[in-house]
C-alpha cells in the first residue's frame, strides 16, 4: 500500500454536477481498492464508492476559495467532483489515485487480490461454466465441412488466437499455415458462427498482406474451402469493415484487402466503420455533451450530432445487419475482417450472431458470445480499457459500442432478451473493474501466462447468481423470436441515458417499469407459494375458483414499493433565481431523496462491489494492515 500516503481526509465536499444544491460534506477514504466517500451532512449514512480501476482520469483544478477541487472521471461514466480543504491533502490524494488507478504490473490488478471466499473447487467450476466447444456442438460442429483443430495449441499459427479454432475440414494444415503467413498477425480465417439452417457461415480474420499485388495460394485455397463448406451458395462475401480509404492506405504498408480477381467467386464489400481513434474521440465528445451543465435542447442535440457517436453505433449495426441478411436471406457465407480483426470484426460478428440466434440473447448464450468473439478471439481488453498504465492511444470504447448496440436492440425488441439493461451495465462495469479474470490481458495466451484461471475468479457465475434482478420480465422465451431484423433508420437509435448519464439519477425516469415488473415477478412466486400452501390446508375444494373475480377486485398488484425519487429541479433556467427559498426548501427533501437513491443503488446493482469491497476491507483488517482508517 505504498501508494496511499493519506488514507483519510476530512471535510471534503462532493459537488452535485447538475443542480445548485448545497454540496455534500464528509470524509474521503482511500483503501487498497476503492475510494470511499462518506457523506456526513446527510441524516442517513451515505457512501459513494469508486473502484480505483474504474478511474479514467484524475484532475486537480485551480484552487478556489472553498478549497482544492479534484475531478474524477470514471470509465463507467461516473463523474465525481470533490473539493478538499487543504491543498496538500488534495495533492496527496491526487498522486495516490494516479498511481492506484494506473497499475503498472498485471499482478496489481484487483482480480489477483479479490477474494469472495469461495472454495477452490467452486472457483474452478466457475471457469468451466462457459465451454466454447459446447457452443460449436450446438452449431453441429464438427460436421462434414467444419472441424475443431488444435493446430494452434502452441500458438504457432497465431499467438492471439485460442489453441482451438474452427476451420474448414477441406483446409489442410499447409493451407492453414500458408494462409496465416499472408494474414496480419497470423489471424487466419476461422469460423465464428454457423447458421445451421442453410450451412452459411460467418468467418473472421485479419487483413491480408496483399500490398499492391501480392497473392497467396494457400489463402485463396482457404477462402475457397470456406465457400465450399456452404454448398448451397455459389459465392461468398468478403466484408472489410473499414472505410475504403483506410483499407487502401494499408496497401502501402504491405497490407490491404482481397483482390476479387485472385479469389474465386467472392463478392468483396467495404462497410465503413471508423477506427479506434475516431471512436475514442467520438466518445470523448459525447461525454462532454453529457457533462454540460444545464444544456439547452439545441446544445444537446447539436453536441450529440457533432460527437458522431450514434453515427458510429448505426454503422456497426448496419454492418451486422448486412452480415445477418447475407447469411439468412442470401444463404451466403461471409468472411469479415478489419485491420487486425479484433475490434470492428469482433463487434459485427458477435452482433450478427446475436441477430441470427436466440441462444445468444439468453443469459448463458450472451456469456458464450462474449467469451467466444471477444475474449477467446483476442480483443485486447487490457489495452482498449486501459487496465494498466500504457499507451492512451490504444484505449477505445469498442466493447462499449457493442454493449450499446445490444441495448439499442433491446429497445426495438423488448421481449427478445432474457436479460435486462442492468446485466449489460454489470458486464460493462466489470470489463473495466479488473475484479474478475475474464477480461484481463489481451488474448488467451497472455491470460494463460498470467495464470488467471488459477489465480482469479470468473465473472459469469457471479452474474448468474444475480439472475433474478438481471432478467427481463418481458422475455417471451427462447422460441418466441428467431432472427431479428432491426430497423436501422437513424430515428431508431436513441441516446442511452442509462449508460452515459447513468449516475445522474435525476435524469432517469422517476419510476422504473423494469423494477416494477421485477417485483411483480417476485410477488408472483410468493403468491404461488401461498396458494399451494393454502390449497394443501383445504381437504377438498367445493365450488369453482373465482375466475370471474366478483369480489375484492380492488386488490392491486402491490408490487412497486420502491419510493419515488422526486424533487423539483432547477426550472428557472439561466435567469437569476427569483424563488427566494427554493433551494433550501428543496434541500430538505433532496438529502433524504439522495439517501434513498443511494440506498437503492446499493440495493440494486451496486451491491456486488460493495460486498466485495467490504470483504477486502475486512480481510485487510485481519491481515493486520490497518494503514487506512
Amino acid at each position: 500500500m505504498e501508494h496511499i500516503t493519506t488514507p483519510k481526509v476530512e471535510n471534503v465536499k462532493l459537488l452535485d454536477r447538475y443542480t445548485n444544491r448545497k454540496a455534500a460534506s464528509g470524509t474521503l477514504y482511500l483503501t487498497a481498492t476503492h475510494l470511499i466517500y462518506v457523506d456526513a451532512s446527510a441524516e442517513v449514512r451515505k457512501e459513494t464508492w469508486i473502484l480505483h480501476h474504474h478511474i479514467a482520469t484524475v484532475e486537480k483544478l485551480p484552487l478556489t476559495t472553498a478549497g482544492c477541487p479534484l475531478l474524477i472521471h470514471c470509465k463507467n461514466f461516473h463523474v465525481a467532483h470533490f473539493v478538499i480543504g487543504q491543498e496538500r491533502d488534495c495533492h496527496e490524494v491526487y498522486t495516490s489515485l494516479l498511481k492506484l488507478s494506473q497499475p503498472v504490473k498485471p499482478e496489481e490488478l484487483y482480480a489477483f487480490s479479490y477474494n469472495p471466499k469461495m472454495s477452490k473447487d467452486n472457483r474452478e467450476i466457475g471457469w468451466k461454466l462457459i465451454d466454447l466447444k459446447v457452443d460449436y456442438q450446438r452449431m453441429g460442429i464438427p460436421n462434414d465441412y467444419w472441424e475443431i483443430t488444435d493446430l494452434n495449441k502452441d500458438y504457432e499459427v497465431c499467438n492471439t488466437y485460442p489453441p482451438e479454432i474452427v476451420v474448414p475440414r477441406a483446409a489442410s494444415k499447409a493451407t492453414v499455415i500458408g494462409s496465416s503467413r499472408f494474414r496480419s498477425r497470423g489471424r487466419i480465417p476461422v469460423l465464428s458462427y454457423l447458421y445451421k439452417e442453410n450451412n452459411a457461415a460467418i468467418c473472421r480474420c485479419s487483413q491480408p498482406l496483399s500490398g499492391f499485388s501480392a497473392r497467396c495460394l494457400e489463402d485463396e485455397q482457404m477462402l475457397q474451402a470456406i465457400r465450399e463448406a456452404n454448398p448451397g451458395s455459389p459465392f461468398m462475401y468478403v466484408v472489410d469493415t473499414r472505410p475504403k480509404l483506410n483499407a487502401m492506405a494499408n496497401r502501402a504498408a504491405g497490407k490491404g484487402y482481397e483482390n476479387e480477381d485472385n479469389y474465386d467467386n467472392i463478392r468483396f464489400k467495404f462497410i465503413g466503420i471508423e477506427n479506434i481513434h475516431v471512436m475514442r474521440s467520438s466518445l470523448q465528445k459525447l461525454l462532454e455533451v453529457c457533462e454540460t451543465k444545464s444544456p439547452s435542447m439545441s446544445d444537446f442535440l447539436t453536441g450529440l450530432e457533432n460527437s458522431g457517436w450514434l453515427r458510429h453505433i448505426k454503422a456497426v449495426m448496419d454492418a451486422s445487419v448486412f452480415l445477418a441478411k447475407a447469411v439468412k436471406d442470401e444463404k451466403a457465407s461471409v468472411l469479415v475482417h478489419c485491420s487486425d480483426g479484433w475490434d470492428r470484426t469482433a463487434q459485427v460478428c458477435s452482433l450478427a450472431s446475436l441477430l441470427l440466434d436466440p441462444f445468444y440473447r439468453a443469459f448463458k448464450g450472451f456469456m458464450v458470445l462474449i467469451e467466444k468473439e471477444w475474449i477467446a478471439m483476442g480483443h485486447k481488453f487490457s489495452h482498449r480499457c486501459g487496465h494498466l498504465d500504457g499507451d492512451p492511444k490504444e484505449v477505445s470504447p469498442v466493447f462499449t459500442q457493442f454493449i450499446e448496440c445490444v441495448w439499442q436492440l433491446m429497445q426495438q425488441f423488448p421481449c427478445t432478451f432474457e436479460f435486462n439493461e442492468h446485466f449489460l451495465l454489470e458486464i460493462h462495469d466489470h470489463v473495466y473493474s479488473c475484479q474478475f479474470g475474464n477480461f484481463l490481458g489481451t488474448c488467451h495466451k497472455e491470460r494463460e501466462d498470467l495464470k488467471i484461471f488459477e489465480k482469479t475468479h470468473s465473472l459469469w457465475p457471479f452474474l448468474l447468481q444475480k439472475k433474478q434482478e438481471l432478467r427481463n420480465p418481458l422475455y417471451r422465451g427462447f422460441t418466441a423470436y428467431k432472427e431479428l431484423q432491426p430497423n436501422t433508420l437513424p430515428f431508431s437509435f436513441q441516446f442511452w441515458c442509462g449508460m452515459y448519464n447513468r449516475f445522474d439519477k435525476g435524469m432517469h425516469p422517476k419510476q422504473c417499469v423494469l423494477d416494477h415488473l421485477l417485483s411483480c415477478m417476485n410477488q408472483k412466486i410468493k403468491l404461488e407459494d401461498n396458494a399451494s400452501e393454502l390449497e394443501n390446508k383445504l381437504p377438498f375444494l367445493d365450488g369453482p375458483l373465482p375466475n370471474e373475480a366478483c369480489f375484492l377486485s380492488k386488490v392491486g398488484c402491490a408490487a412497486s414499493k420502491t419510493p419515488m425519487l422526486n424533487t423539483p429541479q432547477d426550472y428557472e433556467g439561466e435567469a437569476p433565481p427569483v424563488l427566494t427559498n427554493g433551494i433550501s426548501v428543496g434541500d430538505i427533501n433532496v438529502t433524504s431523496d439522495v439517501d434513498q437513491r443511494n440506498k437503492e443503488n446499493l440495493a440494486n446493482h451496486r451491491d456486488l462491489h460493495l460486498n466485495d469491497s467490504v470483504d477486502v476491507l475486512n480481510s485487510e483488517a485481519k491481515d493486520g494492515k490497518p494503514q487506512h482508517h
Binding site: 444537446f300 437513424p490 432517469h508 417499469v513 377486485s553 398488484c557 426550472y571 435567469a575
Partner: protein
Amino acid sequence: MEFAELIKTPRADNVVLHRPFEPAVEGTLCLTGHHLIFSSRRQDNAEELWLLHSNIDSIEKRFVGSLGTIVIKCKDLRIIQLDIPGMEECLNIASSIEALSTLDSVTLMYPFFYRPMFEIVEDGWSAFLPEKEFEFLNALTDEWRLTYINKDFSICPSYPPVVTVPKSIDDETLQKVAVFRHGGRFPVLSYYHKKNGMVMMRTSQPLTGTNGKRCKDDEKLINSTLGPGRRGYIIDTRSLSAAQQARAKGGGFGVEVYYPQWRRIHKSVERFNILQESLIKLVEACNDQSHNMDRWLSKLEASNWLTHVKEILTAGCLAAQCIDREDASVLVHGTEGTDSTLQITSLAQIILDPDCRTIRGFESLIVREWLQAGHPFQQRCAQSAYSNSKQKWEAPVFLLFLDCVWQMLHQFPCSFEFNEHFLVTLFEHAYASQFGTFLGNNENERSKLKLPQKTMSLWSWVNQPEELKNFKNPLFEANSLVIWPSVAPQSLQLWEGVFLRWNRPSKFLDEAQEEMRKIISDNRVLQEKVNYLRRKVAHMETNDEMQEDL
C-alpha cells in the same frame, strides 16, 4: 348545400391503395359526404379504409399517362396513396376530396351527421359541469364563488358562462377588470392546492399600454387573493422584451408597485406560427427516410420541437414549484391567455394534483382548462403538419401539451391511470373527429352551434367501460405525490407514438405492452385466488372450532 354537388365521381374501381406497413391492395374507392371509403374485393372485406375528409390535411395529385395518383396526407400524420386509373376520375376525386376536406361551415362537419351505434350511459356534455367542480372547492374553502356574470358571453366572449372568482370581488368590479384585460379575460381561479391552500389563477395581459395605465379594481382583485404577508408569483409566458413590446399595441404587464405582494417571472414560451413551423419541420424530418444519422439529428434539432416541449414543461414545473414548494399563489398569463397560459396551468395541475392523472380527472382538466377556458381548437387545429396555408392562427398548442404529458407519463410510468394510446386518441380527435367536443373555439360558439344538442361528446364514447379499458395503464398505482419531471434534454424524448407512428412498425413494442399487461393481470388473478383460499381456510377453521366447542 348538398354534398352530392361536390362529388362528381362517387365511385372508382381498380384503385390501388398504398398505406404504411401494408402491401398495396386493389379495390373500389367511394366518396361520401364525410368519408373516403376504400374496399377491396376480398371476401372477408378486411381491407377497408374509412377516412374522414376532415382528417385530410393536404392532397397532391400527379399523373403518369392516364394513371393518376393522389397522395393524401392526414392530420394524424399518416400518408396514404391512391392510384386511380383514368385521368378524369382522378381529377374529379381529387377535387372532391379537396372541397370536402376544407368545408367552411362547421355545421356541415361530420359530428352533425354522426349517429352513434352505442348506447349512451353518461352524456359527456354534462359530465363536467363547473357547478359540480365548485362543490368540491367549496367544501375546502369559502373564499371563492361562482359568478354568472358572463352567462350571455357579453363580458368575455371566450370565457364560459360560469367562472370561479374571489368571493370578496363583486360582479361590478369584475366588469371593470374585464375592460382592463385583453379580450375581457379577467383573472379567474384555475386550481386550488389542497395541501397549502395556494391557488393558481389565469388571465390575459393587462391593457396598460405605453403610458402605464392602471386599474384599481384589477389590483384589488389580484391582491385580494393573497392573505396578509403572503406572496404570489405572476408568470408571464412572454419574454420581458416581448411583454414590453406588447405595450405599444395597448397590452403590457402589471407593474410590481401596484401589486406589491406579487413578483413577476418571465418564462418565454413560443406561440403561433413558430410552433406550426416547428411541427412541419419535425414531421418532415421523421418522414424522410433517406437521412443519415447526422442529417436526422440536425433536422430534429432544427425543428426545435423538443426545445418547445422543454420550454413548456419547464414553465409548468415552475408554476407548480411556486405553489407547492414556495407556498405562494400563482397568476399565469401571456397575451390572450388562451394558449401558452393554458399549457402551463394544465401541466402544473398534472404535476400537483393526482386527480388529474386519472382518466376522469384528465378529461375534466381538458374540459376546464382547454375547452371551457376558450382555447380556440377550431382555429389552432384547422391544419396539421402538412398544411400549406400557413395561417397565423394554426398552431399545435394542444399537441405540445399532450407531448409534455407524454414526457411525464414516460418519466412516471406508474402514476397515470391512462396510457399513451389515450393521449394519441385525444390528439386525433382534436384534429378530426366524429364527436363535437373539439368543434368551435369557445363555449360561446359551442352554444350557438348547439353542439350538446346536435352532436355527440367524445367523453360519452370514451367513458364506456368497453372503450375505457383500452385507455388504461396497467402499471397505474394511485399515488398522492407531486411529481417533478426532469427537463434535462437527456430526459426528454421524441414522442414516437405520434411522430414515428407511421414510419416504423410497432409490432414488437405492442407485444411488450401486451406482455406487461399479462404479468400484471396474472398477478391480480393470483392474488384473488389467494384471498379466496384464505377465506376458505379461515371459514373451515372456524367451523372446526365451532365443532370442537360443541
